[in-house]
C-alpha cells in the first residue's frame, strides 16, 4: 500500500464539481430560521382560518404581546445555546430584576430603598449583568455542565426573590414602582401603548395596497435577478413590452380597486394578471439571456406520482370541505357544535380542508421543482398545471365557502400564488437560469428582494397600526400594541446582526461548535461564554423592566419555570440543542409560533384542557418540518 504523490507539480485549482451553484430559493431554504418561518406562516393561516378574531388587529396585538416577552428571552437564550450552554435561571431572573428595581425605588416607608428610577434602573441593570457574569464564571471555572450550575442559580434566585420580598415588604407581591422619581419618563420607555382606535388614518388602505404592490414587484424583480443569467448587453426591445405589462397591471389594479361587481372584478383581475405576466416577460427579455435549450417534455413516474398524489389530496380536501358543509348530521348548530369534545365542526372542516390542500399543493410544488431538473419544458408544464389547480381551488373556495374571509381574502391570495407560479414558469421556459454566482446581479437582486420584503412588511404594519373612520364603529374593544413588541423586534434584529456580522457572533458559533478548536486559534472561549450569560441576564433585566412598569406589582413567582419555554422557542426556531448552530431570528419566530399556539387555542374557543395536547402536536410538527426542510435543502444543494 503506497501512496505515491507526484511531487512538485500540483495541478492548478480545478472547479470542484461537487459544489453546485445554489439558486436564491435554495440558499434561503438552508437558513436555520426558514423552517420556523414556514411553520409560523402555517400556524397563522391555520388559526386565521378557524377563528374569527385571530387574524384581525386585535388578535395580532394579543399574540404579539405574549410573543414579545417570550421572544426577547428566547433570542438571548438562543445565543447562549449556540454558544453551547444553557441557563435555567433565565425565567426566574425576569421576575427577580423586576422585584429588584421596585425594591430599589420604592419608598423607604414601604420597605424600599427610596432611590430615583434614574439610579435604580442602571443599578438593577448592573446587578443583573453581575448575575450573568457570576453564572458564566462559575460554569467556566468549575467546568461543570451549565445545566447544573444554572439550576443552582435558579433556586438561589427563586429563594432570593421570596426572601427579599418577605424581608422588605412582608408580602410576596412587590408593588408601587410609581413611587420612584422619574416614573413617568421610564414608564413611556417600557410600557407605552399604541391604541389603534385612537389613530385614524383614512387613506390607510391605499397606502397599504401601494406598499404591498411595490414591495411585491421588487421581490419579483429581485428573484429574477438572482435566478437568471444576465445578458452581456441589454436588449432594449424588452422595455416596451415591460412597459405595456406594467401599464396593464396598474390599470387592472386601479379598476379592481374601484369596482364591486363579481363580473367586473373577474375581468380586471385577468387584466392585472396578464399585465404581471407580460411585464415580467418584458423585463426578462430586456435583461436576461434566452434559454438555449428548453429540452423535450419528459414526465417520468418520479414526477407524475407526486403531481397525481398532490392533485388527489387537493380534491379530497375540497371534497371534505364541501361534504362537511352539507352533511345534515353535522350541521344543526354550526357555531357551537363540537366533535369529539375537541373541535367545532367548523374547526374540523378547516383542518381537513386546509391540511389536505396544503399537503397536496406542497406535493405539486415538489413535482414542479423536480421537473425543472429534467428540462425547462417539463418544469413549465408541471408549474402551469399546478397554477391551474391552484386557480380552480380558488374558485371553488369562492363559490362554495360561506366564510367571508375565505371567499375574499383566501381567494385573492390563491389567485396571486397561481399568477406568480405561471409567471415564473413562463420566464423559466424562455430564459436561461444561472449556474454560477455573479456579483453585480447578486447584489442588485438581494437589495431588491430585501427592499421588497421591507416595503410589504411596512404596508402590513401600517394596516395593523391605523384604523379608519369607516372601520371604527365596527370595532369591539381597544386594540393595544405594547412597546414591548418594539423591544422584541429590536432585540431580535440586534442579535441577528451580532451573530451574522460581528466577531463576537463568529466566536459564539465557534465556542458552541468546538470549544477546543476555537481556543486553538485564539478565541477567548471563557470570556465569550461569560458574555453570553451576561446577554441572557441583560435580556432578563429588560423583560423585568417591561413587567415592572406594566404591572406595577410583581409577584415573587414571576417567571419561574418559563426558562423551558425559552429553550423550546429557540429549538423550534432551528437552534441546535448541542450548540454551534442556530439563529436569533429563528428563535424570535419560534417565540411567535409558541405565542400563536398559546393564544390561538382560546381564540378558537377550544377546550383548554386539551391545550397542551395541541401545543405538543404543533411544536413537534414545527420542529419536524424544520428538520425536514433543512435536510432536503442541504441534500438538494
Amino acid at each position: 500500500m503506497t501512496t505515491d504523490v507526484a511531487t512538485a507539480d500540483v495541478p492548478a485549482a480545478a472547479p470542484d464539481e461537487r459544489l453546485a451553484y445554489r439558486g436564491p430559493i435554495q440558499r434561503l431554504l438552508v437558513q436555520p430560521e426558514i423552517g420556523a418561518l414556514l411553520g409560523a406562516i402555517s400556524i397563522w393561516v391555520f388559526f386565521w382560518a378557524v377563528t374569527v378574531p385571530f387574524g384581525t388587529a386585535i388578535g395580532t396585538a394579543n399574540w404579539l404581546d405574549v410573543a414579545a416577552t417570550l421572544g426577547i428571552m428566547a433570542v438571548a437564550v438562543a445565543l447562549l445555546m449556540i454558544g453551547g450552554e444553557f441557563d435555567l435561571s433565565a425565567g426566574a431572573m425576569t421576575g427577580a430584576t423586576g422585584i429588584l428595581v421596585i425594591l430599589l425605588v420604592k419608598d423607604t416607608a414601604g420597605g424600599g430603598a427610596g432611590l430615583s428610577l434614574w439610579i435604580g434602573i442602571p443599578l438593577s441593570f448592573v446587578l443583573a449583568l453581575g448575575i450573568g457574569w457570576f453564572n458564566g464564571t462559575l460554569v467556566e471555572r468549575t467546568a461543570l455542565p451549565s445545566f447544573i450550575v444554572t439550576l443552582g442559580a435558579f433556586f438561589v434566585i427563586k429563594g432570593a426573590k421570596l426572601g427579599f420580598a418577605k424581608l422588605f415588604v412582608e408580602t410576596i407581591q412587590v408593588g408601587r414602582i410609581d413611587e420612584g422619581a422619574g416614573h413617568d419618563f421610564w414608564r413611556k420607555i417600557f410600557s407605552s401603548v399604541w391604541t389603534r382606535n385612537d389613530h385614524i388614518f383614512n387613506s390607510r388602505d391605499t397606502v397599504y395596497v401601494a406598499l404591498l404592490v411595490v414591495g411585491g414587484v421588487a421581490i419579483l424583480l429581485g428573484l429574477l435577478e438572482l435566478t437568471y443569467r444576465r445578458r452581456a448587453s441589454f436588449n432594449p426591445g424588452g422595455l416596451p413590452i415591460a412597459g405595456i405589462g406594467a401599464a396593464a397591471g396598474l390599470v387592472g389594479l386601479f379598476a379592481l380597486h374601484g369596482t364591486e361587481g363579481t363580473g367586473a372584478n373577474f375581468i380586471w383581475s385577468i387584466v392585472m394578471g396578464a399585465g404581471v405576466l407580460i411585464g415580467a416577460y418584458g423585463i426578462a427579455l430586456w435583461r436576461f439571456e434566452p434559454n438555449p435549450d428548453r429540452g423535450a417534455l419528459q414526465l417520468p413516474g418520479g414526477l407524475l406520482r407526486p403531481a397525481g398524489l398532490g392533485t388527489g389530496l387537493v380534491i379530497l380536501g375540497v371534497f371534505f370541505g364541501l361534504i362537511l358543509d352539507s352533511a345534515p348530521a353535522l350541521k344543526p348548530d354550526r357555531t357551537v357544535d363540537t366533535i369529539f369534545f375537541l373541535l367545532t365542526e367548523q374547526g374540523l372542516r378547516a383542518i381537513l380542508f386546509v391540511g389536505l390542500s396544503i399537503v397536496g399543493l406542497v406535493l405539486l410544488l415538489i413535482a414542479a421543482s423536480r421537473a425543472r431538473n429534467f428540462s425547462s419544458t417539463s418544469g413549465t408544464v408541471v408549474s402551469i398545471y399546478t397554477a391551474i389547480v391552484v386557480t380552480v381551488l380558488a374558485f371553488i373556495i369562492q363559490s362554495e365557502s360561506d366564510a367571508p374571509k375565505f371567499r375574499a381574502e383566501l381567494f385573492s391570495v390563491l389567485l396571486l400564488v397561481a399568477l406568480l407560479m405561471a409567471t415564473w414558469a413562463v420566464v423559466g421556459l424562455y430564459f436561461e437560469q444561472r449556474r454560477f454566482p455573479d456579483e453585480a446581479p447578486d447584489r442588485l437582486g438581494r437589495v431588491l428582494a430585501i427592499a421588497g420584503v421591507v416595503l410589504a412588511s411596512v404596508g402590513v404594519v401600517f394596516r395593523l397600526l391605523f384604523t379608519t373612520d369607516s372601520e371604527l364603529p365596527t370595532l369591539v374593544g381597544q386594540t393595544q400594541f405594547r412597546v414591548s413588541i418594539l423591544w422584541f423586534l429590536l432585540s431580535a434584529g440586534l442579535a441577528t446582526w451580532v451573530l451574522a456580522r460581528t466577531k463576537f457572533g463568529s466566536w459564539t458559533f465557534a465556542v458552541g461548535g468546538s470549544k477546543s478548536a476555537s481556543r486553538q486559534v485564539g478565541v477567548p472561549a471563557a470570556r465569550t461564554k461569560t458574555q453570553l450569560f451576561m446577554i441572557v441576564s441583560a435580556a432578563a433585566w429588560l423583560v423585568g423592566m417591561l413587567l415592572a412598569f406594566r404591572l406595577q406589582t410583581i409577584q415573587a413567582s414571576t417567571g419561574d419555570g418559563k426558562e423551558f419555554e425559552y429553550i423550546i422557542a429557540a429549538v423550534v426556531g432551528g437552534t441546535l440543542l448541542m450548540g454551534g448552530y442556530g439563529s436569533a431570528a429563528g428563535a424570535a419566530i419560534g417565540a411567535m409560533i409558541m405565542a400563536m399556539s398559546f393564544q390561538g387555542i382560546p381564540f378558537a374557543g377550544w377546550n383548554s384542557d386539551w391545550r397542551f395536547l395541541f401545543l405538543g402536536v404543533i411544536l413537534l410538527l414545527a420542529v419536524m418540518a424544520n428538520n425536514y426542510i433543512r435536510k432536503t435543502a442541504e441534500e438538494a444543494s
Binding site: 485549482a13 470542484d16 468546538s514 476555537s518
Partner: protein, 288 residues
Amino acid sequence: MSEPALLELEDISKNYGNIIALTGVTTLVNAGEVTCVLGDNGAGKSTFIKIIAGAHQQSEGILKVDGEEVMFDSPRDALARGIATVYQDLAVVPLMSVWRNFFLGSEPTKGFGPIRWIDRKKASRIAKEEMGKMGIDIRDTEQAVGTLSGGERQSVAIARAAYFGAKVLLLDEPTSALGVKQSGVVLKYILEARNRGLGVIFITHNPNHAWPVGDRFLILNRGVSMGNFAKDEITRDELIMMMAGGAELEELTRELEQAAAGDEALSHLAEEFAEEVGELEERAEHDE
C-alpha cells in the same frame, strides 16, 4: 548554507520526573523543506510536538528559531515565533462556514469607533484565494466546513496557518484518520505548503506517507532518536525497518511463533509474518 535553519533542535531531552520521555533528539527544519517525524505509538511523538508547540519545555538541549536560541513559555509564544500547530481533530469547527473558520479569532473588521463588524466580503475573498493557492477551489465560502472531506478540512487549517504568517507548520498526524485517497490529498497540501517556502514538520506513524513528501526524517522509538537522515542518506525500506525497530520485529516474530504452537491458523499467520520481516531485512541490507 548561509541562512540558519528555520528551526533547529540540538540534543533535546525531556523528563517528567523520573520518566524519560525523550532523549537526545536532534533535527532541523529548513524553509521549503518537509521534516518527517516517524514513530510508533509511545515513541515520544507527542512530547516532541508539545515542546515545539510550546506546551512543554525541554529539560535539556537547545531549540533554535532562525538561529536564535529560544525556550517557549506557552503555545502563544511559539505562535508568535511563527510556529503554527495543526492538530488532527481540533483543526476546525465543522458547523461553521469555510470563511468563518479561516478567520476565526482574527476576523477582519470594519466600522467606526467601538461599533465594528466583520468585513465579510474581504474575509470571504481572502479565504477563497488562499484555499485556491492550496489547490482547492471553494466556490461558496459559506459552505460549512463539516461538508468538506477530511483532507480538505485539514487543508483549511493549513491554509489558515500559512496565511497568518506561520513559518513552520507542525502537523500532528494529519493523515492518520483518513483513507488512502484523502491521505493523498493532504500530502499534496503538505507539498503545496512546502513549495510556498514554509518549513513543515510532518508527524506520522506511516512511513509510506512520510517517504514521498519528506526531505528529512527523524525516527523516534521509545523516546530515543533512532537517527536523523536527509532523504539521500536513507532508503524507503530502511526507513520502514528502523521505524518498526528491526530487533523488536524479530522478537515479535519469535513470540508469535511460540504463541501459535498448536494453532494451525495462527501458525500459518506467524510464518507469513516471519517471511515478510525476513524479506524486509534482506532488502534493507541490499540497499546499503
